[in-house]
Amino acid sequence: MATVKLKNVTKSFGTTEVIKGVDIDIEDGEFVVFVGPSGCGKSTLLRMISGLEDITSGTIEIGGVVVNDLPPKERGIAMVFQTYGIFPHMTVRENVAFGLTINKADKQTKEAKVQEAARILQMEHLLDRRPSQLSGGQRQRVAIGRAIVRDPKVFLFDEPLSNLDAALRMDMRLEIGKLHQKLAATMIYVTHDQVEAMTLADKIVVLKDGKVMQVGAPMELYHEPANLFVAGFLGAPSMNFIRVTVEALDGGEARVTNKALDPIVVDTRGRPFAVGQEAILGVRPQYLHPVPDAEGKLHGKITVTERLGAETVVEVTLEDGEPLIAALSEDRIYQSGEKIGFDFDTGHAQLFPPED
């Protein structure tokens, strides 16, 4: 088990800089998830930790040792890939034992370790099959099995579940969660599925364009996003951003309003604003409550209603013509064009400076 420390890590492919100075501290036994939009550098960062990509500058430490110049094998890591990376010509047993075969372990050790891994992953009955006779989830289990057998200090996962269908994904997600508890190993997990991120992570690292946007516990990021990007990235449906004007500032609070919004007072959380300037008010769709007779703070008309049973997602055109999404935790029927008003807890609203 080990800590992982990234210090001002950068990576360039030729002249294009892909990772632009990343600092991350990962505690021993922590489950860290890297999220971010496609192409932001998650895989690259993970591969730099694994040693599959070299590091342009900065240092990476695993267990207190700088591993910049160590080959993957000596870093004490194991990696699980999105495309499984299992060998079609080997049985499950041979696949799981691959690392041991490479390192010329003796038969007994091999068999014992394979059995152990198979037991943990509940796939003893699959050991003699070939990959072509396995489902996607089973294949990924084999890949994870191969990782377990290595007894790594750090597990690295690169979107291990993206090739699976939704139901299987949930099962496997739970499995991986359990695995983490069982092994108590440090795990770094790349995904762009926020449910995975939120449910699995002790700590989430949000990346954008090769830079860290925010690091923190899932709920911390959800409730207190550090910036517009993180706010918009986490949560589904994503946070409503409403353009408002700052009418007054008072200590840590600002009064904001716009055509569709009655003036409200929001905590500025130390962010700088100026009176008369534009700002962006972030309200999660789940915090919006419809008020009868189009009362409340926000006013608009229903455009589309999506009834999901336990939840109703409504799309609203505000009075200033901007769109708004609300997620109501009950089944409601609205007519298109119907007038509607929303109320919300201003404590849950975020105020951000406008994007440049």
């Binding site: 993957p72 194991a78 990376g85 060998f87 490479i102 290595r150």
Partner: protein, 356 residues
């Protein structure tokens, strides 16, 4: 009424028709002709009627016998020896041209070995055919690993992202697009016994110690020289086939191997080679087929000589069918060749079958 299915089938047949016609006219029909001719005394041109003669063409080709020669003895019954102490035997022609032994008429020594004081002589009714058979098989046995292995080596070398790698690919592929006749002519110069390039290079490398060898004029080196030259010529084609095979191997598998710390050899053994299985079968079969068809090199470079050391089955089939106007004899060789190749491909198919 034509359903949609039969209509579209009609179009399909129309598309297939030219291929069918060509294959039938130039491959299937000639094959049956050859089969029939081989059972007759068909000539290229002759006023005599064609007669069915059963298997006598095959008997003439395949006739084999072993005769025992007793040593020459002088009047006292002592074995006669020459200056080197070699036992003297009567000439084989005293038996094969002896009216007392009509069963050996027209047969000739193929090879012999000593057994006690006696010599066992294998006589064949068609020694040239026998030599052609052995040479063809020798050629196949050597060319398959040489050409296939060489091609794989080149493919591994050029399957990298290096500056100017396309230049190498082109160079290696060049001999394939040049006519084999031209290449054979050029290699005649290379192999020239006096001032050929090869002799000059070897002499330069050994500071003149190397005695020039008449590569194509010496029965001991002629076939080897043709094997090397043929392997060189075809290596580019198979390199491209290997290359396409290499590129179907998922890069993830190589990353898995890298993470497990596999050495270069282990990576080849566990990742590359198994991934090339189907390609290997293809390459194996294609080289084998091509090798059995060895003709142009022989025709241009040696005409089967010296001393039949480079006779091959196809060369003999052409030589007899057209050179000596004996279509039936040539056809018989072709049919034998056909069954040999068929048998070998079936064995190869069996040995390389998918085991599951």
């Amino acid at each position: 009424m034509a359903s949609k299915l039969t209509r579209s089938n009609g179009v399909g047949w129309a598309f297939a028709l030219p291929g069918f016609v060509l294959i039938t006219t130039f491959i299937i029909l000639p094959f049956f002709f050859a089969f029939w001719f081989s059972l007759t005394n068909q000539r290229l041109i002759s006023p005599n009627p064609t007669e069915f003669i059963g298997l006598s063409n095959y008997e003439r080709l395949l006739g084999l016998d072993v005769i025992t020669l007793e040593p020459e003895r002088d009047d006292t019954g002592k074995i006669v020896r020459d200056e080197d102490g070699e036992i003297q035997y009567p000439r084989v022609r005293t038996i094969t041209r002896n009216p007392d032994f009509p069963e050996y008429k027209g047969m000739r020594e193929w090879f012999r070995w000593q057994s006690g004081d006696n010599a066992k002589v294998v006589i064949a009714s068609d020694v040239v055919f026998m030599k052609a058979l052995v040479n063809t098989l020798t050629f196949v046995v050597f060319i398959v690993p040489l050409q296939g292995g060489g091609a794989l080596l080149l493919a591994l070398l050029i399957n990298q992202r290096l500056r100017g790698i396309n230049g190498f690919r082109t160079i290696y592929f060049m001999p394939v697009v040049i006519s084999i006749v031209v290449i054979s002519l050029l290699w005649r110069f290379i192999y020239d016994g006096n001032d050929g390039l090869l002799n000059n290079i070897l002499a330069a490398l050994t500071f003149g110690l190397f005695e020039p060898v008449d590569w194509l004029g010496n029965p001991d080196t002629a076939l080897g020289s043709i094997i090397v030259m043929s392997a060189w010529q075809g290596v580019g084609l198979h390199m491209v086939i290997w290359l396409s095979g290499l590129q179907t191997i998922s890069p993830t598998l190589y990353e898995v191997a890298a993470i497990e710390g596999a050495s270069k050899w282990q990576t080849f053994r566990y990742v590359t080679w198994p991934g090339l299985r189907n390609t290997a079968i293809l390459v194996l079969i294609v080289i084998t087929m091509q090798a059995f068809a060895l003709f142009a090199q022989i025709d241009v470079m040696t005409n089967g000589g010296p001393l039949d050391s480079t006779q091959t089955l196809v060369f003999q089939a052409v030589e007899r069918g057209y050179g000596k106007q004996d279509i039936s004899g040539g056809s018989a060789i072709s049919v034998i060749l056909f069954f040999m190749v068929l048998a070998i491909s079936l064995v190869q198919r069996y040995l390389t079958r998918e085991r599951s």
